[in-house]
C-alpha cells in the first residue's frame, strides 16, 4: 500500500526542461506555418518566387553562428571563460549578420517587384522569414544577457547553463531555417506533394 520510493523528478535543471517545452511550442508554430504553406501553394494563383542567392550566404552565416555557439558551449564545459566569450561574441555577431542579410534579401526581392501582397508565395516568404528572424532576435536578447554576464566577469560555472540553453536554441533555429529553406527553394516540393496525396 505504502510505496516510499521517490520517483525523482528528472535531474535536468528546470530551465532546460522549460526550453524543451518552449521549443515544442515553436516547433508546432513553424509546423503549422509549413502546413498552411503547403496547402496554399497548391492553389492556382501560386507563382514561386526566385530565391535570392544571398540566402545561401545567409545560411552559411547562420551555420557559422551555430558553430560559434557550440564552441562557446564546449569552452563552458572546460571552464574556459576566454573561449566562452569569443564563442558568444562570434555567435551573436554572425546572427546579426544573418538578420541583416535577410533584410537585404527582402530589399532585393521588393526591388525586383516581388512585393508582399503581389502573390501568396511572396507573402509566405516574407511572413515565414520574418517569424524566423523574430525568434532569432528573441534569442539574441538571451545571448546578449549571457554575454553581458561574461563581460562583467562571471565565472564559467555560473553561466554554463545559460550558454548551453543558447546553444540548443541556436541549433534548433538553424534546423528550422534549413527546413524553411528547403520549402522556400522548392526542394521539398516532391515531398510536400506526397504528403498532400496521402491526406487527400
Amino acid at each position: 500500500m505504502v510505496d516510499l520510493r521517490e520517483e525523482s523528478t528528472s535531474s535536468l535543471p528546470p530551465a532546460k526542461i522549460g526550453l524543451g517545452v518552449f521549443l515544442a511550442v515553436v516547433g508546432s508554430l513553424f509546423a503549422l506555418f509549413i502546413s498552411a504553406y503547403s496547402m496554399r501553394m497548391n492553389l492556382v494563383d501560386w507563382r514561386t518566387l526566385p530565391v535570392p542567392a544571398l540566402l545561401w550566404f545567409n545560411t552559411g552565416v547562420l551555420v557559422l553562428s551555430s558553430v560559434a555557439l557550440q564552441w562557446a558551449y564546449i569552452a563552458a564545459r572546460r571552464d574556459d571563460i576566454q573561449g566562452i566569450s569569443v564563442g558568444l561574441c562570434a555567435g551573436g555577431a554572425s546572427a546579426v549578420i544573418f538578420l541583416v542579410g535577410q533584410l537585404l534579401a527582402w530589399r532585393q526581392l521588393s526591388g525586383a517587384g516581388y512585393f508582399l501582397a503581389s502573390n501568396p508565395a511572396n507573402s509566405f516568404f516574407y511572413l515565414i522569414t520574418a517569424v524566423h528572424g523574430l525568434h532569432l532576435m528573441g534569442g539574441l536578447v538571451a545571448l546578449g544577457r549571457t554575454t553581458a554576464k561574461v563581460l562583467r566577469g562571471a565565472e564559467a560555472s555560473q553561466i554554463r547553463l545559460s550558454v548551453e540553453l543558447c546553444t540548443i536554441y541556436w541549433h534548433f533555429l538553424l534546423l528550422v531555417w534549413l527546413v524553411l529553406l528547403g520549402l522556400l527553394t522548392g526542394w521539398t516540393d516532391n515531398f510536400v506533394d506526397i504528403c498532400r496525396q496521402l491526406l487527400s
Binding site: 517545452v21 511550442v25 508546432s28 501582397a117 517569424v131 487527400s200
Partner: protein
C-alpha cells in the same frame, strides 16, 4: 527513477530546501500588484477573468432580450446583435474559461498540490498575467473604437470577417486579432510554468501517479493548449496581414459592394482548418481541468477513493491526444471530401470511449459513498449530468448525415452550451466553493450558495433544453430576428420568451454569487485549515491561507495518493497524503 533508501526507523530524509531560490517581495507593490507569487497571480487571473466574464454575461442578456422579444428593444440593431454574439463567444471561451481554469485554478493549485513553494519561473509567470491583462484591455477597448467590436462570429471566418458589411470591419477585427495574439503569448509564458512545475517541482514522494486528478487535468490541458494555440496564432497573424497589408492567404477573388477587391486566390477553408485545429482541442482545454476538479470534488465529498485512478489518468491523456485528430468535424458543411468526413466522424465517436470511462468512474465513485450534498458536491453532480447531456447531443452532431441538417441551427448552440458552457462553469463554481476556504480562510455562505446553485442549475436547463427543440424545428442560429417564418410556429416564439426570462434570472443569480464572494471574505464562517477533511496536499499547509512559500520551513513528504478516504482499519475517515505510514511518526521522518 532513484530509489530513496528507506529505513523503517529513520524514515525518509527531509528534502533539501533552497530557501535562497525563493523570490521575496520587498514592497506593497511587489507583494500584491507586480507579485511573482503564484497564489497572488492566480487571484489576479481569476478576478480579471470573472470581470470580463461579467461583460459577456451582460451581452448574453442583451441577445436573449432580442431573441425573446424581437422588435421591443430598438437599441439592439442587427449589427449590434452580431457583435454581441461574437464578443460573448470569444470572451467566454478564451478570456474567461481558458484563463480561469489554467491561469486561475492552475496557478493556485499546481504548486500547492504537488508540494512546491511556487512555480518554477515566477517572473515569467508574472509577465504571463500582465500580458493577459493587456489582451483583455485590448479586447474590451473594441467596444469603444469607431465601428465597435467585430461581428464576425467567434470563429472569425474569412472572407466575411474582414469585408465591409460585417460590423467592426475597421478597428474591431484588427484589435480582436491583436488581442488573441497577445493572449497566446501570455498563455505560453504561463503554460511553460505549469508544465515544468508539474514535471520538475514535485515534492519528495509525489510520483506522477500520486498527483491529484485536478493536476493531471490542468497539466494535460496545458500541454494541449501549448500545441494548439500556435494554430490560432498562425491563423490570426495571416488574417491580420490579409486585413492590413492586402495579402491573400485566405481571401478569395471577390466583389465587394460592386467593385472587385484587391484579393485573389486565397482559401477560406485553410483558415477553417487552422482555426479548428486550435478550436477543437480548445473544447478539451476547458473540459479536462473540469474533469480533474470534478474527480477531486466527488471523491472528497463522497468520502470515497476515486474509482479507477489509473484509468482516469489514461482517459485524460487519451482524450487529450484524440482531440487533435477530430477538428474537421466542425467543417462537415464546408464541402469536404466525404471520406474525409467519414474519417473525422470516426475519430469523433472514438473520443466517446475514454469520456464514457470517466463518467462511469465518477458514478462508481459515488456508488455506496457517504455522499455529502455540500455546494461543491451539488455542482459536481450537476456537471456530470450536464456533461452527459451535452456529450449525447455531440454524438448526434458528430455524424455527418445528422450534422448536415442540424448545422447552423439552435441545436448546435444548445449542444455546445451544455458541453462546454454550462458543464465547465459548473466545475468552476464547484471548484470555487471547494477551494475558497483555502484561499481566504473563510467558508462561502451556505444559504446563498444553495440559492445560487439551484437557480443556476435549473435555470440553465430552462434556457438550453428548449433550445434543442427549437434547433430541431430548424430555427437558425445567429439571426437577429426570425420574423414570420412558415416552419416556426407561434409556440416557438413563446418558448423563446420563456428562455429569455430564465436567462435573466440565471444572470441575476450570478450577481448573488459575486456578492457571496465579497461578503464571505469578511463575514464568512472561519474555515480552519481543512474544512472538508480532504486528503490532498493543498489542505495540509501549515497556514490558511497558505503563506508565502506555502510550506513553512520544510517541504512535505508524500507517502500515498490523494484519495485515502474511509480506509478500513484506520480511525479517521481520511489520511492526508503527507501522513507517514503506521510505525513511522512524522518526527521519525527527519531524525
Amino acid at each position: 527513477m532513484v530509489d530513496v533508501p528507506f529505513d523503517t526507523v529513520a524514515g525518509v530524509p527531509p528534502a533539501e530546501v533552497g530557501e535562497v531560490e525563493l523570490y521575496h517581495p520587498r514592497s506593497w507593490w511587489t507583494r500584491y500588484v507586480f507579485s511573482q507569487d503564484a497564489k497572488v497571480i492566480a487571484i489576479q487571473y481569476s478576478i480579471t477573468a470573472m470581470s470580463i466574464g461579467m461583460v459577456a454575461l451582460v451581452l448574453s442578456w442583451l441577445m436573449r432580450l432580442q431573441l425573446g422579444f424581437p422588435g421591443t428593444f430598438s437599441f439592439i440593431d442587427p449589427n449590434q446583435y452580431l457583435q454581441f454574439i461574437t464578443m460573448h463567444g470569444m470572451i467566454m471561451v478564451i478570456y474567461l474559461l481558458t484563463a480561469l481554469f489554467l491561469g486561475g485554478f492552475g496557478n493556485y493549485l499546481i504548486p500547492l498540490m504537488v508540494g512546491a513553494r511556487d512555480m518554477v519561473f515566477p517572473y515569467v509567470n508574472m509577465l504571463s498575467y500582465w500580458v493577459y491583462l493587456l489582451a483583455v484591455v485590448v479586447l474590451a477597448s473594441t467596444f469603444f473604437v469607431p465601428g465597435g467590436p467585430t461581428g464576425a462570429g467567434w470563429t472569425l471566418y474569412p472572407p466575411q470577417a474582414i469585408l465591409s458589411g460585417t460590423p467592426g470591419q475597421d478597428w474591431g477585427i484588427i484589435l480582436m486579432l491583436a488581442s488573441l495574439i497577445l493572449f497566446i503569448i501570455g498563455f505560453t509564458m504561463g503554460g511553460l510554468n505549469y508544465v515544468v512545475t508539474v514535471l520538475q517541482a514535485r515534492t519528495r514522494g509525489m510520483t506522477l501517479m500520486r498527483l491529484p486528478l485536478t493536476v493531471w487535468g490542468i497539466f494535460t490541458a496545458t500541454v494541449m493548449a501549448l500545441l494548439a494555440f500556435p494554430a490560432l496564432f498562425v491563423a490570426s497573424v495571416m488574417l491580420l496581414l490579409d486585413r492590413l497589408l492586402g495579402t491573400s492567404f485566405f481571401m478569395p477573388t471577390l466583389v465587394e459592394m460592386g467593385t472587385l477587391t484587391k484579393y485573389g486566390g486565397g482559401s477560406p477553408i485553410l483558415f477553417q482548418h487552422l482555426f479548428w485545429f486550435f478550436g477543437h482541442p480548445e473544447v478539451y482545454i476547458v473540459a479536462l481541468p473540469a474533469f480533474g476538479i470534478i474527480s477531486d470534488l466527488i471523491s472528497v465529498h463522497a468520502r470515497k477513493n476515486i474509482f479507477g485512478y489509473r484509468m482516469m489518468v489514461w482517459a485524460i491523456v487519451a482524450i487529450g491526444a484524440l482531440s487533435f485528430v477530430v477538428w474537421a468535424h466542425h467543417m462537415y458543411v464546408s464541402g469536404m471530401h466525404p471520406y474525409f468526413g467519414f474519417f473525422f466522424a470516426t475519430t469523433t465517436l472514438i473520443i466517446a470511449v475514454p469520456t464514457a470511462i470517466k463518467v462511469y468512474n465518477w458514478v462508481l465513485t459515488l456508488w455506496r459513498g457517504d455522499i455529502h450534498l455540500t455546494i461543491p458536491m451539488l455542482f459536481a453532480l450537476a456537471f456530470i449530468i450536464t456533461f452527459v447531456n451535452g456529450g449525447l447531443t455531440g454524438l448526434f452532431l458528430g455524424n455527418v448525415v445528422v450534422d448536415v441538417p442540424l448545422s447552423d441551427t439552435m441545436f448546435v448552440v444548445a449542444h455546445f452550451h451544455m458541453v462546454m458552457g454550462i458543464a465547465p462553469i459548473m466545475a468552476v463554481f464547484g471548484g470555487i466553493y471547494h477551494w475558497y476556504p483555502k484561499v481566504t480562510g473563510r467558508m462561502l455562505n451556505e444559504a446563498l450558495g444553495q440559492f445560487h446553485f439551484w437557480v443556476s442549475f435549473l435555470g440553465a436547463y430552462a434556457i438550453f433544453f428548449p433550445m434543442h427543440y427549437l434547433g430541431l424545428l430548424g430555427m437558425p442560429r445567429r439571426y437577429h430576428d426570425i420574423g414570420e417564418t412558415a416552419f416556426v410556429p407561434a409556440s416557438a416564439h413563446d418558448l423563446n420568451a420563456f428562455m429569455s426570462v430564465a436567462a435573466l434570472i440565471v444572470g441575476f443569480a450570478q450577481l448573488v454569487f459575486l456578492f457571496n464572494l465579497i461578503w464571505s471574505l469578511f463575514k464568512g464562517k472561519e474555515a480552519g485549515g481543512n474544512p472538508w477533511g480532504a486528503a490532498s496536499l493543498e489542505w495540509q499547509t501549515p497556514e490558511t491561507p497558505p503563506g508565502h512559500g506555502n510550506w513553512g520551513k520544510e517541504l512535505p513528504i508524500v507517502y500515498r495518493w490523494a484519495y485515502d478516504y474511509s480506509v478500513p482499519g484506520i480511525a479517521g475517515d481520511f489520511v492526508p497524503q503527507n501522513d507517514p505510514p503506521a510505525g513511522l511518526s512524522a518526527q521519525g521522518a527527519h531524525p
